[in-house]
């Protein structure tokens, strides 16, 4: 495991170091791709002006609200459609058809509906998250082992007890899988929403800096997004490890 960490660190270090050297020697043009040292300096300036925290907070707020609302609605609708056959028969084809629409392409109309404020970003981000969590929850609810339901019913469970004690816990891994995808989607929704029309936020900052050819600032923003994604995924991974401790650990791939 330590060996893996060392290898990984070495790889990252090599890439960053070569980037620095190549850019310093003008083998690659820092005007287009910036340079690690310049990104570092920019991050410091970005932070000390107070702008970094301000813009990051706006984007994070939109993404997290999108994740929370989209996730909650996705789980709720997923359960309703998963359990009520009539509802699923009527609605599932419609939901699936709507899923085919590229939602990011709809961003301009959401700006029209909800304005350039944070609401339109939350909506876009929530919509992306909703679909991922909904489909995953729906499949989870549908794939509960009927033998478990039968056994618990024979132990004396009511319908609501079966829902709470069998169907819900058995769907948790599926819900978490949806949320894992949802983290990335919520960030995409917030950023793209900011591209389309905003006066602040990391997405707005990327647009703004690009129009002034400030590649250093663009790269700083991308670095920040990378950090946010990593942090959120790490949090989720810890939550998963706790919530799914009842599953045999069959992950032989890494770590």
């Amino acid at each position: 495991m330590i060996k893996l960490y060392l290898l990984r660190t070495a790889l990252i270090f090599t890439v960053v170091f070569s980037w620095e050297i190549l850019a310093a020697g003008h083998y690659i043009d820092p005007f287009y791709v910036s340079q690690p040292s310049r990104i570092f300096n920019d991050l410091i300036a970005f932070y000390s002006s107070g702008d970094l925290v301000k813009h990051l907070a706006i984007t994070l707020k939109a993404a997290l609200w999108g994740l929370a609302i989209g996730g909650f609605v996705g789980v709720a609708i997923g359960f309703l459609l998963g359990r009520i056959k009539l509802l699923a028969d009527v609605l599932e084809p419609i939901v699936t058809a709507l899923y085919g629409i590229p939602k990011l392409a709809l961003a301009p109309i959401f700006i029209l509906w909800f304005g350039v404020g944070i609401e339109s970003k939350i909506f876009l981000s929530g919509l992306l998250v909703f679909y991922l969590v909904f489909f995953s929850t729906f499949s989870g609810v549908r794939s509960v082992d009927p033998q478990l339901i039968g056994a618990v019913r024979l132990l004396g469970a009511s319908r609501i007890q079966i829902l709470m004690k069998v169907i819900f816990p058995s769907s948790v891994p599926w819900i978490l899988a949806g949320v894992r995808g949802g983290i990335g989607a919520s960030l995409i929704g917030a950023i793209v929403g900011e591209y389309m029309g905003a006066s602040a936020g990391i997405g707005w900052m990327i647009m703004y800096a690009t129009s002034f050819f400030q590649t250093d600032r663009v790269m700083s923003c991308i670095f920040l997004l990378l950090l946010i994604g990593l942090t959120l995924n790490l949090l989720l991974k810890n939550a998963e490890q706790y919530l799914l401790r009842w599953r045999p650990n069959l992950d032989f791939s890494t770590n």
């Binding site: 033998q147 039968g150 019913r153 024979l154 132990l155 469970a157 009511s158 004690k165 009842w246």
Partner: protein, 265 residues
């Protein structure tokens, strides 16, 4: 219908059940089946594979209704189904619950407080020697341990009757002997009515007061044999007694005829 005849816990008359198979034709599983189950008895049901043993048990436990026929029960909650324990052929422990949490589920569903259900459950867990694993999840248990947990899960809420559908299938002989020992011990201590389905005749004779042979499909009760072997029985030693071999031979003739019939279909 509630029974009034003394000492009969459950009585089944003219039970019919058929299934529509996915290929479209009808499979008659049970046909005009009659059966009486006495209070506190250990009843074993033996029959060829696919004859409808699980179907019968599922209907008796209330998992689904028969097509026709009556089932009369004389239980604490009348005709209710909360006094029934059912152990199916499958592994039905909830994987996200520890052994303790699984075993106490029946009590939890009945609203028993945590303190009281833990007291009951811990004792049962000790009786089947699972204390060391009580806080483990099912994936960490061996097949035999899982079976033991499933069995005491059905005992924990004190049902009047427990249906066991080939609970030991897929286990090695040694584990099986030990579990049979466990079952008999628990039965002596609790005096529950047990209906035990198996296709192992020796197992049926070892455990039961009465063995019922089911015919091949469409299935009815073909014959019934009272087992006169003395109790308490040692599940291993008893198999070497003359009485056992004699009983076995007698019932085997009956059973093998049915097995052959179901094979030739």
């Amino acid at each position: 219908m509630v029974l009034t005849v003394d000492n009969i816990l459950l009585s089944v008359s003219d039970l019919n059940k058929s299934f529509k198979s996915s290929s479209g034709d009808t499979v008659e599983a049970l046909k005009n089946l009659n059966l009486e189950i006495k209070r506190q008895e250990f009843l074993a049901i033996v029959g060829p594979s696919g004859c409808g043993k699980s179907t019968l048990l599922n209907i008796l436990a209330g998992l689904y209704p028969p097509d026709s026929g009556t089932i009369a029960r004389d239980m604490a909650d009348g005709n209710g189904l909360r006094n029934i324990g059912h152990i199916s052929q499958a592994d039905t422990l909830l994987p996200w619950r520890t052994v303790v949490q699984n075993v106490e589920l029946g009590l939890e569903l009945r609203g028993v407080s945590k303190g009281r259900r833990r007291a009951v459950v811990e004792k049962l867990i000790e009786q089947v020697d699972l204390s060391q694993f009580k806080n483990n999840y099912p994936f960490e248990l061996s097949g035999g341990m899982k079976k033991r947990a499933i069995i005491i899960r059905a005992l924990a809420y004190d049902p009047d009757i427990i249906f066991m559908d080939e609970p030991f299938v897929g286990l090695d002989v040694q584990t099986r002997d030990l579990l049979e020992e466990d079952i008999l011990k628990l039965w002596h201590e609790t005096r529950k009515t047990i209906v035990f389905v198996t296709h192992d005749l020796a197992e049926a004779i070892t455990l039961a007061d009465r063995v019922i042979i089911m015919s091949s499909r469409p299935s009815t009760v073909k014959s019934e044999h009272t087992i006169h072997l003395p109790r308490p029985r040692s599940t291993v030693d008893i198999k070497f007694t003359e009485d056992f071999t004699e009983t076995y031979k007698k019932i085997w003739d009956d059973l093998s005829a049915e097995v052959k019939k179901s094979r030739s279909k």
